[in-house]
């Protein structure tokens, strides 16, 4: 009789137990492999004179760093980078401040129906596409027939071409984005405020703190971690200024002020068939973003005790 190999037996036993778990992961693993990992090979396009008809894995011509050289010779690329960072930085700051203020104000409301109605109305735009919402924005900001300019005229002002004037385009992009998303973010902060221990308020009240002092000394410290977390995590998006929005709101008049990296990639890389150039921008952007995201997750992990999964 051979000695029963208990280690082997245990391993086989464990495999039988975990086999269904592997099986459950399998469909997602395969789909990711084909539709996420296979296209990652596409980073090589940045080093090729790419012809789509030859296929992703086809015999493309390699041209080294020529695409990158062309890119840095591109006169406006630094303007577009600046636009991207400016727009997304303004969005990050305001998309924390505005919802935070609204959450604090809504938290003061005692009438439940009123609180709920306001919430319901302000977070509706979040669920619309940038086509529908962009269509509405273009409509209401139109210099000739838009309701906003009608109101400006009513008060004797000159109509403003918000989306066609290089001076107003950045602000318009930032504020319309805040309009679309602030209601949603308000809910996140409101939930955090609700989570603050109520006994802290009672203790503060006994010590003679009024509502304002309670807000400053109890509510804000209670939610500062979540605010910091949102700030840190959104820094990873510093190069994503919002393609879906910007592409639908900009026109030829304002390119110098509002073209961002992603719209440039689409315009030059796809519409103008300069695949290699587009891929080169995309690669540089991905690498930079990965550094930002990595650092932001490390900060969130180390200092804010954040665990994503």
């Amino acid at each position: 009789m051979p000695v029963v190999d208990s280690a082997k037996l245990r391993r086989r036993n464990r495999f039988r137990r975990t086999f269904p778990l592997h099986l459950m992961s399998l469909p997602a693993v395969l789909l990711c492999l084909v539709f996420c990992y296979a296209p990652m090979y596409g980073i090589v396009i940045a080093f090729q004179r790419f012809v789509p008809a030859k296929g992703l894995f086809g015999p493309q011509q390699w041209i080294g760093f020529t695409n990158f050289k062309n890119l840095f010779a591109y006169p406006r690329i630094w303007t577009y980078l600046t636009n991207t960072v400016q727009i997304s930085f303004a969005k990050i700051v305001l998309s924390i401040l505005v919802p935070l203020i609204f959450a604090l104000l809504l938290n003061e409301v005692r009438k439940k129906w009123f609180k709920k109605s306001v919430q319901t109305i302000i977070y509706f735009p979040y669920f619309l596409s940038w086509i529908v919402f962009g269509g509405i924005v273009i409509d209401i900001l139109s210099p000739s027939t838009g309701i906003v300019n009608n109101i400006i005229r009513l008060f004797g002002g000159e109509p403003i071409y918000f989306l066609g004037n290089p001076e107003t385009i950045k602000g318009t992009i930032v504020w319309t984005d805040i309009f679309k998303t602030f209601g949603f973010n308000t809910i996140i902060y409101l939930a955090a405020i609700t989570g603050v221990n109520p006994t802290l308020y009672e203790a503060a009240a006994i010590d003679g703190a009024n509502r304002w002092q309670q807000t400053v000394h109890v509510t804000l410290p209670g939610i500062i971690t979540i605010v910091a977390l949102m700030a840190v995590l959104s820094m990873g998006n510093i190069l994503n200024a919002g393609f879906e929005q910007v592409w639908n709101l900009i026109n030829a008049n304002v390119l110098s002020e509002a073209e961002i990296l992603d719209t440039f990639i689409y315009r030059q890389g796809i519409l103008a068939n300069q695949y290699g150039l587009g891929a080169a921008v995309g690669l540089l952007k991905s690498l930079t973003s990965m550094v930002f995201i990595g650092v932001s997750y490390i900060i969130a992990y180390k200092f804010l005790d954040y665990r994503l999964f």
């Binding site: 997602a28 996420c36 109605s117 509405i136 309009f179 809910i187």
Partner: protein
């Protein structure tokens, strides 16, 4: 505690301010609705604010008879249904092994990293386009569903919810001889209903609202889902691909009233799921974004 005068004043100012913002948000949508129901002449001469001027349903009649609009609408419905089936199966199934601890499932972290990398890094739109072309999937509804078949953040939301299910329930089922699949079907799924509802809403709204993939992965406007179609005809006002050459028809389809009516119709499915958003969504995002 007695409320001071300053507190009362604050309450009134606060309510007025919040009410005004909410009314301003709401009136934007009422304005668009009014535009869709008004005569174009009244719109052009700036007479329409919140109430329709020269009330008529002409714009809706024009769209009702516009076959191109409904063709694109149909493609959107197809992608939503297919997207629900594919995404929800993947999310519910994949989140289960990932919700195990490392002790329970040794490869859990390896799988997690494998999936998470796809959320951090992508090959870019050019590579995706060429790959779908190589696979012969361009201009099909599959090109709108398969590239986003594994939504990593929704899986994370779901697995975090699975982890809130008391361990004792699963352990007692295991003692009764339940397999992993039986535990998933009979215990985890019924208990995870709020999270499933939340993710389902994300999925429906996400698929309904997507437009860039439709634009990118279709070489002809006849394969566009509704949002891509609307991007072309109401945002860019480009009728060159639609086959419409009659300038009168183009003028009619691009007048503000007809455009507004299309915006309203495209909003209807979102409005239809919105009451459910109210019920499930808030608890869902809170679990997903604010973990203790």
């Amino acid at each position: 505690m007695k409320r001071s005068l300053s507190k009362k004043i604050f309450d009134v100012v606060n309510a007025v301010f919040l009410g005004a913002v909410a009314i301003a948000c709401l009136s934007v949508f009422i304005h668009v609705l009014a535009l869709s129901l008004s005569e174009n002449d009244a719109i052009v001469s700036n007479e329409v604010m919140l109430l329709p001027k020269g009330f008529n349903l002409e714009s809706y009649r024009i769209i009702l008879e516009d076959g191109r609009f409904w063709h694109a609408f149909g493609i959107s419905i197809q992608r939503v249904i297919l997207g629900i089936i594919v995404n929800m199966s993947i999310i519910i199934l994949t989140a289960y092994p990932l919700s195990k601890t490392k002790q329970e499932f040794r490869f859990r972290n390896a799988y997690m990293i494998y999936f998470f990398i796809t959320a951090l890094f992508s090959g870019g739109i050019i590579a995706q386009f060429v790959l779908l072309n190589d696979l012969g999937l361009l201009n099909t509804v599959w090109s709108l569903v398969l590239p986003t078949a594994v939504p990593v953040f929704n899986i994370i939301l779901m697995l975090n919810f699975y982890r809130h299910i008391p361990k004792e329930i699963l352990e007692s089922a295991e003692i009764d001889g339940a397999s992993e699949i039986q535990k998933l079907i009979h215990i985890v799924i019924p208990l995870a209903r709020p999270a499933i509802a939340t993710v389902l809403l994300f999925t429906i709204v996400g698929h309904w609202n997507s437009w860039f993939d439709g634009l990118l992965f279709s070489t002809s406007i006849h394969s566009y889902p509704l949002q891509s179609y609307l991007q072309t005809v109401i945002i860019k006002m480009d009728f060159s691909q639609t086959g419409i050459t009659d300038p009168d028809l183009i003028a009619m389809l691009s007048n503000i009233s007809v455009k507004s009516a299309q915006i309203i119709i495209a909003m209807i499915p979102v409005l239809a799921v919105y009451p459910f958003v109210q019920r499930y969504f808030i608890s869902g995002i809170v679990i997903g974004s604010v973990k203790e």
